[in-house]
């Protein structure tokens, strides 16, 4: 126990007294994530705001007064949901010229109503209905925004006259649908927003944190020849394995915590949570305890895996190369959990290393988890970690693995 603690302290000291490591392992991940995600969130929001505040450049010919009136009301200052519309003066443009203007963004939308459009609607008998020709560029956000906001006005105009033509509009309704409010659990809804990103990001950063420290601690010692200095001491190989895995677990957890803080601080901006009313306050202290205990269990499994791979590798570079496929698997697990179906409640799923924990995390974030699955994840993670430590002990005892050039 004392020896394990000595190894643990030494590994902690190695990292915690190296300013460069502190910066790259503990400060940079959180800071980089915070800056990057906040920037993305701000840019996305700015882009959306810029589009919403954009003045729609509308070119029309023969627009019925009723439609124009609607549109003018829509762009009136007194309107709370005001959109800015600028009517472009009519000129005798041909179609190709108008298309070029829309393509280049000089005009956002073109509405070409047939001559006497309104009169033809009012005096309709059984001839061909009048035509409205619309040009817009769905490759440009402003143009799409214009289309999405102006077409409902046109639809409203059409429906108004359609109803007028019908003797009994109710006859065409067939049936009505009544939607009952108040069923949705707002907490679950908010949680789903969290679950979309957090489990994936957490597991990826847990792995990345462990990956940045693990190879140096074991493969690095082999590469530098310092492992032999350790192995000639009377310390038991099991104590070395425990000391290494636990210290790496602690360091990786701190590193992941840094990333977690970065995510937590930047997520409201990234996901526009302020606008949607979602906040971290939806979770109780118990939820947070469950989340952090899952993280600790997961980090131990990840560190155990990385330690075994590092012990097998001859150099740090080789260890990083061997670890990479497992990192990709973890990425896939994160993506599948975040963008897949609802979290599984199957007990067997929770026995699976890493995947079970990420699935459970997703469940905790959406308030859909079972205590039995939580216990399974914790117990199975401890069992997997012990298996990795046992394998590591055997590897420290194996001269071929430790000293083969």
């Amino acid at each position: 126990m004392d020896n394990m603690l000595t190894i643990f302290k030494k590994e902690m000291y190695r990292v915690l007294t190296d300013r460069r490591l502190i910066l790259t392992i503990f400060i940079m991940p959180g800071l980089a994530i915070f800056v990057m995600y906040s920037l993305i969130g701000t840019l996305v929001q700015n882009q959306a705001t810029a589009v919403e505040e954009h003045t729609i450049i509308l070119y029309e010919e023969n627009m019925p007064d009723a439609i124009r009136l609607y549109l003018e009301q829509l762009s009136d200052e007194s309107n709370e949901q005001r959109i800015h519309i600028e009517f472009r003066d009519q000129r005798d443009y041909d179609e190709e010229t108008l298309k070029a203007y829309v393509r280049e963004g000089d005009i956002d939308i073109v509405l070409l109503f047939e001559d006497d459009f309104h009169e033809k609607i009012l005096n309709y008998t059984d001839e061909e209905p009048p035509t409205l020709t619309v040009f817009y560029n769905y490759g440009r956000q402003q143009s799409s925004f214009s289309y999405n906001n102006i077409m409902p006005v046109i639809e409203y105009y059409r429906n108004t006259y359609l109803i007028e033509r019908l003797e009994d509009p109710a006859y065409y309704q067939v049936f009505s649908v009544q939607y009952v409010e108040g069923i949705v659990d707002e907490r679950v809804l908010s949680g789903q927003m969290m679950a979309m990103m957090l489990p994936m990001l957490i597991v990826i950063f847990l792995f990345a944190g462990a990956m940045s420290i693990g190879p140096d601690s074991i493969a690095g010692e082999k590469e530098r020849g310092t492992i032999a200095t350790l192995l000639v001491t009377p310390i038991k190989r099991r104590e070395i394995a425990f000391g290494k895995v636990l210290s790496l677990g602690m360091l990786s957890f701190i590193s992941a915590l840094s990333s977690f803080v970065g995510i937590a601080l930047s997520l409201p901006r990234l996901m526009q949570m302020d606008d949607s009313g979602v906040s971290y306050a939806i979770y109780t202290m118990t939820d947070y305890v469950v989340i952090f205990s899952i993280l600790i269990a997961t980090v131990l499994v990840i560190v155990g895996l990385i330690s075994v791979i590092s012990a097998f590798a001859k150099t740090i570079k080789e260890a990083q190369m061997f670890i990479m496929p497992f990192y990709f698997i973890t990425l896939i697990i994160g993506i599948v959990t975040s963008f897949g179906a609802e979290p599984s409640q199957s007990m067997w799923v929770h026995f699976m290393p890493i995947y079970g924990a990420v699935n459970l995390l997703s469940g905790v974030f959406t308030f859909q988890w079972l205590m039995i699955n939580y216990v399974i994840v914790l117990v199975s993670s401890v069992v997997y970690t012990m298996m990795f430590i046992y394998a590591l002990t055997l590897m420290f005892n194996d001269e071929k693995i430790m000293f083969q050039k």
């Binding site: 530098r224 000639v232 009377p234 310390i235 000293f403």
Partner: protein, 261 residues
């Protein structure tokens, strides 16, 4: 205190494809040490001589319990290196060029760290550190990171750290390799001091005059086999001109003749 006895050890290594290519051989197994036996007594320096690749380091690694011989046994004091490796490690110091120190740490931290791994109490650690650091002139550099120290100083620190537990058996694999004359002399002088304290010392080297000057007993190992062994003077007597150098080169040539003949 009992002697250190190496009894008929044999160690083979499987050669990887890469190693076979480097050594230009098609043989898949290499016999690194072949039925080697010797004994080193307390208060003696035993010199293990041999050219590069003769099997010296492998034999010493077996003694240090880093690797296990395929056959034979090594008795360190009262303990078998095969069956009681932890007990052997408590009583033995092993130093080789391949045993490195971590650059990030200071000599002081490393001394403390390895002392604790040996289960030594704080008062003893302090006393031993003071004595060894003063003896090797490390005290001025005890808070300087290993990365910033010279090769000679690193080797002195390695020796001090190897001796944290005041072991009765000391195994040094080419301890003066790559050192300047002054540092090499400090190391050899210290070996003599250790012998005078009654320690059992095994020294591997290919520097003949070091053996002639320091060793009481000698073994010459070539191609994994012990070709000559005994008290230094007796071994030298077997040479055609009464020098260790001639004997050494004759044995190397004889082995080369056997291999190629």
């Amino acid at each position: 205190m009992n002697a250190l006895k190496v009894k008929n050890i044999r160690k083979t290594f499987r050669l990887s494809k890469k190693q076979r290519k480097i050594e230009q051989t098609s043989i898949k197994k290499k016999i690194a040490v072949d039925d080697v036996s010797f004994e080193a007594k307390p208060g003696e320096i035993f010199g293990l001589l041999g050219p590069n690749g003769a099997g010296k380091t492998t034999a010493l690694r077996c003694i240090a319990t880093l690797i296990k011989p395929d056959e034979g046994d090594i008795i360190v004091g009262d303990y078998s290196a095969l069956k009681e490796s932890t007990e052997v490690r408590k009583r033995i110091a092993f130093l080789t060029n391949e045993l490195k120190l971590e650059d990030h740490f200071t000599p002081n931290y490393l001394f403390q760290y390895f002392s604790r791994l040996h289960g030594i109490d704080e008062a003893t650690i302090k006393a031993r550190r003071q004595r060894l650091f003063q003896r090797f002139g490390i005290d001025k550099f005890q808070e300087v990171k290993v990365a910033d120290l010279s090769t000679g100083m690193k080797q002195k620190i390695s020796i001090a750290i190897a001796l944290v537990h005041d072991p009765d058996f000391i195994v040094f694999d080419e301890p003066t390799n790559g050192l300047d004359v002054m540092t090499a002399k400090t190391v050899t002088d210290y070996l003599v001091e250790l012998r005078n304290e009654g320690k059992t010392i095994i020294l591997s080297t290919h520097i003949l005059h070091v053996v002639e000057k320091l060793c009481d007993r000698v073994g010459i190992i070539i191609e994994g086999k012990m070709k000559a062994y005994g008290i230094l003077e007796d071994v030298i007597q077997t040479s055609s001109d009464g020098t260790l150098e001639t004997l050494f080169f004759d044995l190397v040539k004889e082995e080369a003749g056997e291999v190629h003949g």
